[in-house]
């Protein structure tokens, strides 16, 4: 993203004031506030980070450090459908990389990236605790288990079909 350009068109709708002000002005709520912002926008907009810095009287650099340290937080926008490929040990030995490769091939992006049309994001997660279904992935809130490359193709095609409707 072009940050220089972004600064000029500062978008006030992204400053997340209403989310931030629900919490007391104490440093110990920093992570909770960032998580709420993440939940609302599916990422942490620069504007929100600046607003929060002002609110808590902390340097933006500190918050930037938090936003990049914690995996649950992201500084770049995520897609409409978030695909989480479980790469816990049980899934890994059951072939989660095969699942990931298939998704990456179909969407033309790597894990951690988002498609250009902002429809899909792929990420790997460490364990979603559905080891009995390994290898498993989640698309938004739905679990898909015991996956084979063929199944991945079919499932994704269904979501892509929805997109074209």
């Amino acid at each position: 993203m072009d940050m220089a350009q972004k600064e000029i068109i500062r978008d006030d709708s992204l400053c997340a004031r209403e989310v931030i002000e629900q919490h007391p002005k104490e440093q110990r709520y920093t992570l909770a506030i960032l998580q709420d912002i993440q939940r609302k926008y599916k990422y942490i907009p620069r504007e929100a980070l600046e607003t929060l810095a002002e609110y808590l009287d902390l340097p933006v650099s500190k918050l930037y450090g938090m936003a990049t340290f914690y995996k649950a937080l992201s500084l770049t926008p995520k897609g409409e459908h978030i695909i989480k490929v479980c790469d816990g040990t049980a899934c890994h030995v059951a072939g989660s990389m095969v699942v990931l490769n298939e998704l990456e091939k179909m969407l033309g992006i790597k894990a951690g990236e988002t498609t250009e049309d902002l429809k899909f994001s792929i990420s790997t997660v460490n364990c979603i605790g559905a080891c009995a279904l390994a290898p498993v992935m989640m698309i938004d809130e739905t679990y898909y288990g015991n996956l084979t490359p063929k199944m991945v193709q079919e499932i994704l095609e269904e979501y892509m079909g929805k997109k074209n409707e």
Partner: protein, 607 residues
């Protein structure tokens, strides 16, 4: 036979993923349609049309969704929405058993009516998981009915803090999060410091991939954790508690919050608990998805609203912890053990487990290539063989057993000749593995040990907080070497270099994560050196996992031409007519290994 029947439906995450909520909705719908007044939620006085109230994980996620019908004592497995009508008309109305939905017990080759009669449960001893699957986690009445809060009453009304401390010390309970520090000693330090503000913290940041014991406890029996923490606070003089829970564990957070709120309403938490003047409250903090936050000092830093970096522990957190105050930090499973220790006494708990230093029981999540994937709890000292083969039912599809990984990213893979070692803190460390939080991952011949080593190093490299150089750089270098080996670029001397870096990181890293980071490398090389050498010298991955080192071929003599592999090949590179040996086009093959997994005749091989 009682006319009123209670239908328990497992709605742990494993079963939800297998559509148990759809089954539950179907039950509600069908019961209403048919006008049957059983109830699907767990409470007899409620109508069948009650709202969703899941029971927690029954432990055998592999066979989910699990449906228990009481008082008939019938347990059904893999229940689908289509089965619901039959269950209602046959079992609920007429008391008939539907044979095909019962658990098949392999040891006697028969189906058993009640799950309690299976080897899976008979060999277990549930202490920390005592209520799981038996109570509705959102109901305080269910918990109280099974003796809940008796321990808290006993502690605050009849015992002095020092007496509670003595029971916990006598029990020999050690931290169930992995390191195994004696809980009594930890509490003693915190209790002995004279200050107004002390904290009690529950570590629910279960980060080990393949481990979900803590999540299941918080989801399915949150009151035990709340009660345990309150007793802990009474013992050390704690004023405020925090439960740090992974943000990914939505249901666990919801149920824990519900339990905290209800306990507070009932005067079991908050100001003036049970009218004794003792006050203590618990707040939930959601984790941010950083593995290192499972480390105590990093976790406390995260609660304070900072980046979760650990610090050197010259001074323990029990003395200088959260905001510089004495803090008793224990893991979820440890807290869940506290109420029953207070009720039954420290010597009772101490009588379980090994006679030496590992007392009590330990919960494990048994996953990977094992038949009965799920949650198990056994007395310390049970052998790996008993857990994997007797409780777990052996390796999936009866493939050869290769290794079992214990202790998460800080543990190690143990080979078959180590299956008879007892599972306790000391024996595992001696074998270059560790207890860890309780993930137990079974691996078969289709698992490449070098790849698994790379997997753990990659995990640790990503999760290393970057504060100290040995961990940040050492783990990264090891990852580079092992990645090279997996990609066919391994060189002579790589193994020695890995061991050298391992020794350095083990000695020089700052925190527990770094110090134990080389464990997977050391254990893998110790037990599976030949596999590393095969990768380096022969450029062959015998498991068929490392793609550049793998070529799949079909054995003409064994192939029956069923064409199952052909149908399931994602790149259509398998050719051949029905009932004639098939062939793989090696140039088109993407080495996904789907064919080898599919083949029922063991005809696909790694060249």
């Amino acid at each position: 036979m009682s006319k009123m029947k209670t239908i328990y439906i497992c709605c742990g995450t494993g079963c939800i993923a297998k559509n148990s909520k759809i089954v539950l909705a179907e039950f509600n719908k069908k019961l209403e349609e048919l006008g049957v007044s059983a109830n699907v939620e767990g409470k007899e006085e409620e109508k069948a049309t009650g709202k969703m109230k899941p029971t927690g994980c029954n432990g055998i996620c592999e066979k989910g969704p699990v449906v228990k019908i009481e008082p008939d004592g019938i347990t059904y497995f893999k229940v689908k929405a289509e089965d619901v009508e039959e269950i209602i008309t046959k079992t609920i109305i007429n008391g008939e058993v539907i044979d095909k939905l019962l658990y098949f017990e392999p040891s006697i080759k028969k189906r058993v009516r009640h799950f309690k009669d299976s080897e899976f449960l008979k060999r277990q001893h549930k202490v920390a998981l005592r209520h799981i699957g038996e109570v509705d986690p959102t109901s305080i009445e269910d918990y109280i009915e099974l003796g809940g809060f008796e321990a808290l009453k006993k502690a605050v009304l009849q015992m002095k803090p020092a007496e509670v401390l003595k029971e916990v010390t006598d029990s020999g309970l050690r931290g169930r999060g992995g390191a195994g520090f004696p809980t009594g000693r930890k509490w003693n330090t915190a209790a002995s410091i004279d200050t107004d503000v002390k904290y009690v913290v529950c570590n629910g940041d279960e980060g080990d991939p393949g481990a979900f014991m803590d999540r299941s406890i918080m989801e399915s029996d949150p009151y035990s954790v709340v009660e345990g923490m309150t007793i802990g606070a009474y013992t050390i003089g704690g004023t405020q508690g925090f439960a740090y829970i992974r943000d990914e564990y939505g249901l666990a957070i919801e149920n824990m919050q519900g339990a905290i709120n209800t306990a507070r309403e009932r005067g079991l938490l908050g100001k003036n608990i049970l009218g004794t003047g003792f006050s203590f409250d618990i707040e939930i903090v959601r984790g941010g998805g950083a593995f290192v936050c499972g480390e105590s000092t990093a976790l406390l830093s995260s609660i304070e609203g900072k980046v979760g970096e650990p610090r050197a522990k010259y001074i323990h957190t029990t003395e200088v912890g959260l905001w510089g105050q004495p803090t008793a930090l224990n893991n979820v499973e440890t807290w869940a053990n506290i109420p029953i220790i207070v009720t039954k006494g420290g010597s009772w708990y101490g009588s379980l487990g090994t006679m030496e230093k590992s007392k009590g029981t330990k919960a494990f999540s048994l996953v990977g290539k094992v038949k009965n994937t799920g949650l198990v709890e056994v007395p310390m000292g049970t052998t790996l063989r008993e857990i994997i083969f007797d409780i777990g039912g052996g390796v999936l599809n009866n493939r050869p057993f290769k290794a079992v990984q214990i202790g998460g990213p800080s543990g190690g893979c143990l080979p078959e000749d180590h299956l008879d070692i007892p599972v306790d803190y000391e024996s595992l460390v001696k074998a270059d593995s560790m207890m860890g939080s309780g993930g137990m991952i079974v691996m078969d011949d289709r698992t490449c040990i070098v790849d698994v080593t790379r997997y753990y190093l990659n995990f640790l490299a990503e999760e290393s907080c970057g504060k100290c150089v040995p961990c940040r750089e050492g783990v990264k270098r090891m990852l580079e070497i092992v990645t090279d080996i997996c990609e066919g670029n391994g060189r002579e001397g790589d193994i020695e270099e890995l061991l050298e870096i391992s020794t350095m990181v083990r000695q020089a890293a700052l925190c527990g994560l770094g110090k134990s980071a080389p464990n997977p490398v050391i254990a893998s090389i110790r037990y599976f050196r030949d596999e590393f050498e095969e990768h380096i010298k022969n450029k062959r991955c015998r498991a068929g996992v490392c793609k550049p080192l793998t070529t799949f071929i079909i054995n003409d003599e064994k192939c029956k031409g069923c064409s199952l592999c052909k149908k399931n090949c994602p790149v259509n590179c398998i050719t051949g007519e029905i009932k004639k040996p098939h062939e793989i086009d090696i140039d088109k093959c993407v080495r996904c290994g789907n064919c080898i997994n599919m083949c029922k005749f063991d005809a696909v091989k790694v060249k």
